[in-house]
Symmetry: C2
Subunit: 162 residues, 2 copies
DNA sequence: CCTCGTTAGTTGACTCGACAACTATACCCG
DNA sequence: CGGGTATAGTTGTCGAGTCAACTAACGAGG
């Protein structure tokens, strides 16, 4: 046949694939739900604040923050606008580069992350970490790494993961 | 301390968790992008049509279809409306239960899935399946299964996965 | 056989993310 | 040092998902 034969998934591959899709479909909702109920922000907002809180000076340039949160710049820009409206972060001009914007976590923002963190960690444990063996945790890291290499060949996101 | 000590993630757990979050964040976009470019529908629309196409009679009740696509009923209802507007599916009253709605894949819908399938499978391979060893595929299935048990304790979604 | 609670599905308002177009600064090169 | 290109970010519009409110039909109990 002229158009290449599409090399369908084997039953084992298909089963793994469908389950992975289910996880990818359901996990964000679960994380969002818990944080929304208990801390009134989305998982993405939490992750943004958390990455800032872990960085020296509680400051990060937009593009660096985008990398650490796996986000596009437009998306992050919108989110930062909302967080700034709520007084949790501030935009500052970057002294070294006039094009860049630095984002700083405010004291209120720090307090909000600190308050939300225990509940979030508990959810991460309840849904994923404590459901797996130590061996499986290691497998998750390796498998995710392999997939990320394909999803993000330039390794923009994966560089900072300690 | 009175509020339970939050039992932070170990470095290994944290690393695995962050990588998994990155996958969960990036994978949907990659799948959506490919299907949108090559077949002009979203991954969720594709999955909806695919599940219908694999069922005898190319028909499924709304709630059964929602389970198979890991979706809420409102979400599915909106999507079915759009797909019906494009002539890819039809809504039919269910004879046995007046409350229920059956969704039927039209011939045009069938043609659309058949046309989109090879490209989609190729993407699934490029991004996930071919990036992993057979052993890792098996691990994905087991790990996902364990997580789904926590995400969806009633097993609504996971029952139908062959 | 009528009422109450439950299940199935739809609809509308609101929020969030994607994409594209745009602005502004920095860097390179002749 | 003037012009062109690449980089950093912002903004507007539009499509898609969530939640809550609603309608309609089934089914169990008195």
């Amino acid at each position: 046949m002229s158009t290449a034969d599409p090399h369908w998934l084997t039953p084992a591959e298909r089963s793994a694939w469908l389950r992975l899709l289910a996880v990818v479909e359901l996990l964000p909702g679960a994380l969002d739900g818990q944080l929304r109920r208990e801390a009134s922000f989305t998982h993405f907002e939490y992750q943004t604040l958390a990455m800032l809180s872990e960085n020296p000076g509680r400051t990060l340039q937009m593009s660096a923050l985008a990398d650490r949160t796996n986000a596009t710049l437009p998306r992050l820009s919108h989110v930062i606008t909302r967080l700034a409206d709520r007084g949790l972060v501030e935009r500052r001009a970057c002294p070294e580069d006039g094009r860049a914007t630095n984002v700083v976590l405010t004291d209120a923002g720090w307090d909000a992350v600190v308050a939300a963190a225990p509940g979030h960690v508990a959810t991460a444990r309840a849904v994923v970490v404590d459901a797996l063996t130590a061996e499986q945790i290691e497998q998750v890291a390796e498998i995710s790494e392999a997939i990320l290499t394909r999803l993000d060949p330039d390794g923009r996101m994966t560089g900072q993961l300690d």
